[in-house]
């Protein structure tokens, strides 16, 4: 048994050594709140006791292509590509996604992306219609704004493939969105992501003051109450 353990530990240490540079890089990138590799135990206890086991923090957003871990730095073209940080100055910022507020950028006329492939004077058909969806849970109700969407998209991008164009005709819930369906076809992929910082962008209509969450059956029928 001891022999086996030795082999296990030995090979783990070996691969650790191999991956050491990667881990070191990781630690540097996590510098914000450097708890990633923080050791909890001073004695020789299981090394799996790190402060954060599962927290993944966003590192250096808007990294240049040659340093982003996606583009091959050995490819010459990579170094000709534009780093996002060269393009973004002057655009309104956010704390998520591209760290650019794309809606504000258009509203404030900082950007005017083409609506047509070649004709730069064609204007989008913007429709200002909000759809409110009451949410059963305690979070604020969802307001879906057509205005911001029709600035970017054609009706046919959503209707009828993603949403039947009729208020309340679509079953939407958070799990579907997180899995990339309904609103999640775009949000969490290209449009703003779904994180604690963005819940209130969709959940924007406060509940009435006298609202309280419905009690579950298990509570109503709880024999030990």
């Amino acid at each position: 048994m001891r022999q086996q353990l030795k082999i296990f530990v030995g090979s783990a240490v070996l691969t650790l050594l191999v991956s050491a540079p990667a881990l070191a890089a990781d630690a540097v990138l996590y510098n914000g709140a450097m708890q990633h590799g923080e050791r909890l135990m001073l004695a020789d206890v299981s090394s799996s006791n790190t402060f954060n086991r599962n927290l993944k923090k966003e590192k250096d957003p808007n990294a240049a292509p040659s340093e982003d871990g996606y583009h091959d730095p050995e490819n010459e073209g990579t170094h000709i590509l534009q780093p996002p940080k060269d393009a973004y100055p002057g655009l309104p910022t956010t704390e998520f996604g591209n760290h650019v507020d794309w809606v504000k950028a258009i509203d404030e006329k900082k950007l005017s992306p083409r609506w047509d492939r070649v004709n730069s004077s064609e204007e989008p058909f913007v429709m200002d219609m909000d759809i409110v969806r009451e949410v059963k849970a305690s979070v604020p109700d969802v307001v879906f704004p057509h205005r911001q969407h029709t600035e970017w998209l054609a009706c046919a991008n959503c209707h009828p493939a993603i949403f039947i164009p009729q208020k309340g005709a679509n079953q939407i819930n958070m799990s579907a969105i997180l899995l990339g369906q309904k609103c999640g076809v775009c949000h969490g992929k290209v449009s703003f992501p779904i994180t604690t910082k963005t819940c209130s962008k969709c959940h924007s209509k406060p509940k009435p003051a006298d609202w309280s969450p419905p009690l579950s059956d298990a509570t109503l029928k709880n024999p030990w109450r």
């Binding site: 296990f8 783990a12 996606y70 490819n75 073209g77 076809v185 949000h187």
Partner: protein
Amino acid sequence: MTSYKADRSIKWRFSILGVLAGLALLAMTPAKAEYADVIINNYADAAGMRPVVFPHWFHRIRFRCKVCHADLGFQFKAGGNKITMAKIIDGKFCGACHNGEVAWSVENCNMCHSGIPGTPTHIHGSTVQRLVSPPYKALNAPQQPAQP
């Protein structure tokens, strides 16, 4: 004799476990590419070309989503459009613009084919990828190798 063999196979299993533990740590080194960058690698790797990296941020500064996703027919699915060079030089997909008229032309291979070889098709930074416990596996995801 049999016990020796069994013993050895257990040792093997232990060392494989160790290697896997190390590899898992390696895999944790996350890329920090720009949100919404798409890697397209249905065919490129197999043809000895680097995978294609499509930057949404760069294009949405210049075009609304409608131009590509309605007018040019790009479906909302990384890898779902089955883009090939034949279609591109025919003026479809990327070729509707990368034709020397709207944008630089197709002979600039390494501007598009700039990804790290072996990177699978996907969209970077998606909510699904960032969940602590991945809720599902994409249908076309490569199968896990059978357990030894």
